[in-house]
């Protein structure tokens, strides 16, 4: 539960700090990138908060092993 809360607060602060500048400059790319990444982060937090099984990004490294060189 706290995970999602933290995510929302974090995004709120981010929005407050960055949104005005971006809206003024009307840069679509910036805005969409911000929103996409922000939502991605929020989604990850939510996944953790609801205890969905999520593979760790680090596990990707395991594909590369020769099992101890």
């Amino acid at each position: 539960m706290y995970a999602v809360l933290v995510g929302i607060i974090w995004l709120g602060i981010a929005a407050a700090l960055d949104m005005p500048a971006m809206l003024k400059q009307k840069s679509k790319k910036d805005l969409s990138a911000f929103v996409v990444f922000g939502l991605a982060g929020l989604m990850l937090h939510a996944a953790h908060g609801f205890r969905l099984p999520f593979p760790s990004p680090l596990e990707f490294v395991r594909f590369f092993a020769i099992g101890g060189k």
């Binding site: 790319k29 910036d30 953790h48 020769i66």
Partner: protein, 385 residues
């Protein structure tokens, strides 16, 4: 993309950033790994790794020159076009991302096991990420200046640590030399090579922000590698001579134990918390470097105007990543010792090498030069303000 949004860094700052990121988390975890593999020959492993590392330094310096004022990702995009270049950039970005995750997890595990036992690791990571984000939003230049400021302090404390331990160093711990043959030494050298030297590839993302000519840049890279390696070599020597190879492989963070051993005249004791500052600085520097690289890379891939807006969302994703990611320490150690260095070879060595070769092609060179001219027309390169 406005390169000046991140500021300009001098070659001196560049060198210091390299030194810090080379030491990075190596100094925390490497002595344990290298002690387990090579025992009292760990210093030989380290020397071997440094030898190989200098070759890598040469590779990176040459690659930086060929990038012709573009960052690693930028040159990949120009060289291979949107799709292939985008794929290469994505590989880099993903690697940077998990690198920062690793660093965060490491520092939190370190703080938790050695100093603040009851604090949940998430709190430590949160604090770290807040500082990281602030540093990202302020830009590369402020980070570089801060590193420049911190370096003398770092050097002083490091020298203090080394000198205070000299009385406890026992040369005979270095014997017998190479008693188990060359295999353990190689096994120890490989992680050292990976953590310290190969992972420094992220500095190639900073090339556009560098003030100075190509020659100064190569010199900075070379010197940075040399200085960083000497720090690491001294630490490995100290670990073997003061702690002995058995303790080095038994303890998870031998350098902290080194700091605990300082006892001058029975009154200067228990200074290990002060020296933990050293490791936090280097881990933070490495994390910040990779975070900048990540931010910048994504900015270039998408074609953003101001890449600083990515700071907070990225930080959020980092937080999420670490929270999902914290494994148990045995699993984590095994991952680091055996799997990570191999992954490093692919992403931080082979890929830059391929890029290096491709950037040498005359067609690519023309494209790079043209792109640089165009950019300079829009924003003239100004000197540092």
């Amino acid at each position: 993309m406005d390169k000046l949004s991140n500021g300009v860094i001098t070659t001196r700052q560049f060198r210091i950033i390299i030194v810090f990121s080379l030491i990075g988390d190596t100094i925390l975890i490497l002595p344990n790994i290298i002690g387990t593999e090579a025992g009292d020959d760990a210093w030989l492993s380290m020397l071997l790794a440094i030898g190989a590392g200098m070759l890598v330094a040469w590779l990176f310096a040459s690659l930086a020159k060929r990038q012709a004022g573009h960052s690693l990702v930028g040159s990949a995009l120009i060289m291979a076009g949107k799709w292939a270049g985008g794929f290469i950039s994505f590989v880099y970005m993903y690697s940077f991302f998990i690198m920062i995750l690793t660093l965060l997890v490491e520092i939190s595990l370190f703080m938790e096991t050695q100093m603040m036992h009851d604090t949940p690791p998430e709190a430590i990571i949160l604090l770290f990420v807040i500082v990281l984000t602030a540093s990202l939003r302020y830009g590369l230049e402020s980070f570089a200046k801060m590193s420049e400021l911190l370096f003398p302090i770092f050097l002083l404390m490091f020298l203090f640590l080394s000198f205070c331990l000299l009385p406890q160093a026992q040369l005979h711990e270095l014997l017998p030399i190479a008693s188990n043959g060359i295999m353990p030494i190689l096994k120890g050298a490989f992680p050292a090579f990976g953590f310290a030297f190969m992972e420094t590839a992220a500095i190639l993302m900073l090339v556009p922000n560098l003030q100075g000519d190509a020659k100064a840049m190569s010199k900075a890279i070379r010197n940075g590698f040399l200085i960083g390696s000497s720090f690491l070599l001294v630490v490995v020597f100290m670990c073997i001579m003061v702690l002995g190879p058995e303790m080095m492989s038994a303890q998870y963070y031998p350098t902290f134990l080194l700091a605990r051993r300082i006892s001058i005249g029975n009154f200067l004791e228990r200074v290990e918390a002060l020296l933990a500052f050293l490791w936090i600085v280097t881990v933070f520097s490495k994390a910040a470097l990779f975070a900048y690289a990540l931010m910048k890379g994504i900015g270039e891939m998408i074609g953003l105007r101001d890449d600083k807006i990515l700071a907070m969302p990225l930080a959020l994703m980092l937080l999420a990543g670490t929270v999902i990611n914290t494994p148990n320490i045995a699993n984590y150690n095994m991952l680091l010792t055996y799997y990570y260095p191999v992954y490093d070879v692919y992403v931080y060595l082979s890929l830059p090498f391929i890029q290096f070769l491709l950037l040498g092609l005359p067609a690519v060179r023309k494209k790079l030069a043209k792109s640089r001219e165009e950019r300079e027309k829009h924003e003239p390169i100004s000197e540092m303000d």
